[in-house]
Amino acid sequence: MGVGAKIFMTIFALVFVGAGIAVLVVMLGDLGQTADTYEWKEAPCRILSATVGEKTRTDNPYRLEVLYEYDAAGRRHTCDVYMRGYRGTDDYSEALRAAHHYAPGTEATCYVDPSDPTRGVLAHETAWKGFMLLFPLPFIAVGGGILYALWRPRKKRPDGSRAPEPISAKAKKGGVTRWLLVFFGVFFVVGVVATYFAFIRPWQRIQDAKGWAETPCRVKDAWVGEHAGEDSTTYSIEVLFEYTYHGEDYKSSWYSFGSGSSSGYSGKKAVADQLLQERQTVCFVNPDDPYEAVLNREFTSEMWLGLIPVVFALVGGIGGFFTLRSIVRRRVLALPRPGVEAKPVAPPAGMPQAPSATGPVLLEPKTSPVMKLVIIAIVAAVWNGIVLAVLLIEFVWFILIFAAIGVVLIGAVIYQLLACFNPRPRLTVSTNAAPLGSGVELRWDVSGRTERIEKLAITLEAREEATYQRGTNTYTDRRTFAQLTLAELSDPREMLTGDATFTVPPDTMHSFAARNNKIVWCLRVKGSIRFWPDVSDEFPFTVLPKDTRQ
C-alpha cells in the first residue's frame, strides 16, 4: 500500500475513532444521570393529568406534561416527572401516544427514590439507551483496528553489538492475523445497519404510505429548524399539523419520511412559508396507527444521502471477502523442534504450495478489471462522498482541494470502466502449480471483440522482488529474469481461442516468498488496442521445485 493511501486510510480511521469516542462520552454522561432510577422502588400511582406541551421553534418542542400521585413513607406525594433527563421530543406523535397511555384517572406504576420519597419517575429510560452505548463501539473498534492493521509494530531489532551474531539468530517467525476479518465484518454490519435506517426504512415507509388515508389537516405552525454544527449550520423543515381521524383528534410533526438535515435554507423556508400561508392542506394518515401522519409522502432528493453508508458496507464486504480468501489460502508451517537430531522437515516458510487441484484449472487474474473498477470506485465514492458531505455543510474552502482529487479519481474510474469493456482473456491450465521442467497445457479464450486488439501476447514470466527498509523509508525493487513467449497473435480468430503446451524452464528458481524477498511467477496477457486502455492481465502461477521422485 502506498504512502498516500496509507495516510488517507489513517485519516479515515481517525475520524471513525474520534467520532465514536465523542459519541460514547456524551452517551455515558447522559446515561449516568438516569441510570440510578433503576434502583428506585415501584409504587402504584394514579394519573391526575397528561397533556402534550408545545413550544414550537425550539429543540424538542413537544413534551409530555404529566401529574400523578402515589403513597410512600406513610404520606401521599404528587409528582410531575415523567422520566429522569426527559427533555421532550421532536416527534409530536410520540408525546401524544404517551399522553393517551397515561390518560387521567388511570392507574400506573411509578418508581420512588427510597432515600427521598418526594422524588419519583413514571418511567425509566428505555433499555435501548444502554444498548445504544454499543453503537459507537464498532466505530472505535473499526477505526482502531484499521490503524493497528496499518501501523502494527514489527519485531524488535536486537541491540547493536560489535560481535557478529549468528545469521541464523535473525530467523523470524511469520505472523498471521485474522482479526482484520472482524473489523471488516463490523464495518460491513455498521454500513448495512446505517443504510437500513438512513435509506431503506424511509423508502419502505414511503411505499407503505401509498396506502395511507388522505385526510384534511390544518397546519398549526411551520418553520425551518436550525442544527448548529462545529463550523456551519444545517436546516430541516419542521411542522405541526392537526387532523381528525375516525372522530379522534390528533396532531403530528412529520413533514416527510426523510430524517436528518442538510444545507440549503431558502428552499426549505419557501416550503415552510407556503404551509403557513395555506394552513389547510391534506395529510396522509396510517390507518393502522392513526398517531402516524405525514404531509409529504414522496421521496425527496435529500433522502439520497441515506445511501452514503452503502460505501462502508461495500468496503467492509469487499475487504472481508479478500481477507477471508487470503486466510483460507494461507498455509500454516511449523518450525522443527530443538533436540531432535534428524527427521524429515516440513517445507520451510516461503515455499510454494503443491497444486490445489488435479485436472484443468481456470486461472484467476491477479486483479480483474471489474475488481480494479470496484476498488477505484469505492475510493472515488468515499472521497467524493466526503466532498458531497462537505458541500452540504458548506465548507467551501475545503471543497476545492478535495474536489480536484475527486475529479482525478473520477477520471481513473472512467479509465477503468472503459477497461471493463475490453476483451477478457481466460486462461485454463492443466495445473496451477507445476514443478520446474514439467509440461503444462494452456488454453486461452478471449471473450469480446478481439478484432480491436492489434497484437495479443501471452508470456510466462518470473521476477525477483526485493523490499528494503532502513530509517523511515521502504523501497521495493523488481527485476524480471525469465520471459517465455507462449503465444504471439495478430489474427483475431486465433486470439478468440487456442492452446499451447509449454515447459517450465528446468534450470531456474521456483516460486518463493519470504517477508522481504520473493520470486514471483505469472502468466501475462497483453493486448494493445489503439486509442483505448490496453488489455493487461497478470495471472499468478506457481512453480514448484523439481519433482525429485523423477
Partner: protein
Amino acid sequence: MRARDNPFRTERVHQVRYRLLDGTWGEVMRRLRELDYRAAIVGPDGSGKTTLLEDLAPRLAKLGFTTRSLFLNDRKRTLGPTERGEFFARLGANDVILFDGADLMGRLAWARFKRRTRGAAGLIVTSHRSGLLPTLIECRTTPELLDDIVVQILGDGAGLGELPHRLFEKHQGNLRDALRELYDMYSATAPATDAR
C-alpha cells in the same frame, strides 16, 4: 553480477559504520553526558542517523548502560499497545532508549512517551527535524564522505573517480539512495560465470 557478490548489497553497506565529520567519539560522548543522555540525532534522509544510533549502543554499553531499541518508519508509524506495554514493563532505571524515527510519532504521543520514559537513564532519538530533544549531532554528508564509503566498500583502495560526486549531487546528499544506485550499476555488470 550475482546479488551476493554485489559490493553494495545491504549486508555489506550495513557494515560501514558512522564517520564523524567533526570532532571525535570522545567529544560526542562527553556532549551526550552533558545532555544527561537525552538527545536527538538530526539529519535528512540517508545521512546516517540510524547508523550513528546503532554505533552509540556499544559505547553506551561500555559505560554500563543497557540499551533498548525502538523504531518507527513509513510502514509502522505508531507503537502498538502490545509493543508499548511490553517495552514499558521492562524499562529500567539503567536503560538508555535508542528510538529511531521518533519524529513520526504524533505530538501528543511523543509528549506522553517522553513523560513515561523519564525514569530511564536516557533517551536518544533520530529525527528529520530538530526540536524533539536537544541536538546531539546534526548528521550531514559530503561527496568526499560518499567517496570514502565507496572506497571502504570496494576494499581495493581504488574509488570510482568522479562517479560518487555525481551521484551525491543527483541524490542531494542522500547516501542511501546513492549507494542503492551503485548497487544497480554493479548488478548490470558482467556476472560471475555459472558455477556449472
